[in-house]
Symmetry: C2
Subunit: 351 residues, 2 copies
């Protein structure tokens, strides 16, 4: 009889309400599929700041490390926007990623037939989009040193950060990307700015080098500015995209908006070993928190990724994913106006 | 009797053919408006590499510096793609920007009523888009030091770049942006990643500080990942956007693709004083070079920006811009299949 421990980090804004729905769905699915889930809820982000004074308490990180997988709602809100850097909710999230060593962030952007109208792109451009952004998550300019604010030789204020990648950091994310592409449609596009940045030149060279180990994957390279254009021009040309932390931040958000269904998009962050981190890609939406308006399906689909990538419970993952599709087919077609209560009802009944 | 010297840098691919059409239009417009233009054509990019071994010969840079304005076609091509960094056409372009000290890059993205169908965005989302990206062009990660490829303490290959901004660099681009917004619809959105990067925190703080000098401009801030989404979701919300070099590279290309008319979009790069640099935002498109297929209107509109921002010849600029509109109204509505010969014919006849 299998048993897993899941750390729940509801976080801020709509985080708690969407996590609670996903938790119930996970419970139900585990009892159907015959394994046990134990949940441990811990504070994180603004909620942790208010409670403990830091955005990622030590207890939260160690609970996360000790569990089999971590499900995060969302963090942040106006209240903490002007906090100093080390007291920002976002800093807690970066510490969590670093602490769990989850260097590979998988962000699918899929246009479901039921939701094609939600995209601002023309139907013929949006329909059938099904891509995966593999974003490097624990390196690059997010973590590079030196960084800081200082006074330069002319007595002038300066802000600086370092974009840096070592060969092994590129290799390991590239491997995840090649493997991902292999299990999808076999096409990998590596995005960089190798015509300007040395960090990107190394990136391109290492990715190129690994390609010989994946002869079944068709590799191409694209500059980041062009990728930002191509996602708008013809997103269907992409299968799997691999890129660095900051470009991945930008392009995965752009890709998600192209689907028009940001309330539907999950993400998984994985390391070499140890628990993965699963979270919807949307934010904490403080404006609509507590009003039963937030679309919980991105978090439910994140729980699906948790079952699949985090626990290896593929059947349970499939059950959850199809309950989401059934719920959509029941008529929940807009991403904006929602009755979370109704979604909850149908979701559970379709499991 | 006024006389100006213009340096022409046709460059590579379709560069020469589009520059030649813009040159003729400039000549015609100058004779109508009663000033003289002297042209000096110099090699640049891949063409210069083939001719002289470097992508920006000293003679080219000094001719550019000595002139009243510089009109560039496009640079780059497969042939030079694998060159070492200092022998890339792109490096020549960066050296030109640095040499001319053109720190402010203005990139309009406008959806003309005649061309609204060219956008991949739904008509109601695309129509009426009229925004301007003000991109910092001579600082940030493009030029920051230290940079390079090296071996780290573990004997491993590393690539690194430095994102760095000093207060005065932020202030001067912010001023250009506030002035630009003031002459447009009075809304400025500053884009950064201040929740993660110190360079962005300083950026936000300096822009915020200057805002009090422009009480007539409504300032907002947005994270770059959100901006990449909002451009897809609702581009009409933007009037003027100001951002750093790399974010500006990505967002201005995304914005241009949103218009669907990349063959129609000009740009201006301006410094504190000295000649400005004017160029279409499209690339050198080697595939269609020499076939009379390239849309020359982006370069013609760049010549319009040259007249306006570079020479202060507002009337001539307006004449050129309306000839472009008349040419479009004559029926040239697609950005892809073009008869440059016909465009040339109508353009000149409408001047
Ligand atoms: C909140 C922020 C620090 C974070 C990031 O930039 O990584 C977010 O935008 C994301 O993409 O998960
Ligand atoms: C060619 C390249 C160096 C350049 C840049 O990145 O600035 C181009 O993309 C642009 O936007 O003008």
């Amino acid at each position: 009889f299998k048993s897993y421990t899941i750390t729940l980090l509801p976080g801020d804004g709509i985080g708690p309400e969407v996590v609670s729905i996903a938790k119930n769905a996970l419970l139900r699915v585990s009892s159907i599929e015959g394994f046990e889930l134990k949940f441990k809820e811990m504070p994180m982000g603004g909620a942790a700041l208010d409670l403990t004074g830091v955005p990622l308490p030590e207890d939260t990180l160690s609970a996360a490390k000790d569990s089999d997988a971590v499900l995060l709602g969302a963090i942040g809100g106006y209240k903490w926007d002007n906090n100093e850097k080390h007291l920002k909710p976002e800093t807690g999230l970066l510490q969590l990623r670093e602490g769990l060593k989850v260097f590979a962030n998988l962000r699918p952007a899929t246009v479901l037939p039921q939701l094609v109208d939600a995209s601002t792109l023309k139907k013929e451009v949006a329909e059938g989009v099904d891509l995966m952004v593999v974003r490097e998550l624990t390196g690059g300019i997010y973590f590079g040193k030196p960084r800081g604010l200082s006074t330069n030789e002319f007595g002038e204020e300066c802000g600086f950060n370092t974009e840096v990648y070592a060969a092994h950091e590129i290799d390991r994310i590239a491997r995840v990307a090649f493997e991902t592409a292999r299990r999808r449609r076999g096409k990998l596009c590596s995005v960089d700015k190798a015509n300007v940045l040395e960090a990107s030149m190394l990136w391109r060279r290492r990715v190129e080098k690994l390609a010989s180990e994946y002869p079944d994957v068709e590799l191409s390279h694209m500059y980041v500015d062009n990728a930002a254009m191509q996602l708008v021009r013809n997103p269907k040309q992409f299968d799997t995209i691999v890129t660095n932390n900051i470009f991945g931040d930008i392009l995965s958000d752009e890709a998600s908006m192209i689907t028009g269904s940001i309330g539907m998009l999950p993400s998984a962050s994985l390391g070499e070993s140890g628990p993965g981190l699963f979270e919807p890609i949307h934010g904490s939406a403080p404006d609509i928190a507590g009003q039963d308006k937030a679309n919980p399906l991105a978090t439910v689909l994140s729980a699906g990724m948790l079952l699949k990538y985090g626990l290896g419970e593929e059947k349970a993952a499939q059950r959850l994913d199809s309950a989401v599709l059934d719920t959509l087919n029941r008529g929940f077609r807009t991403g904006d106006i929602y009755s979370a209560g109704l979604v909850r009802y149908f979701l559970i009944s379709f499991l």
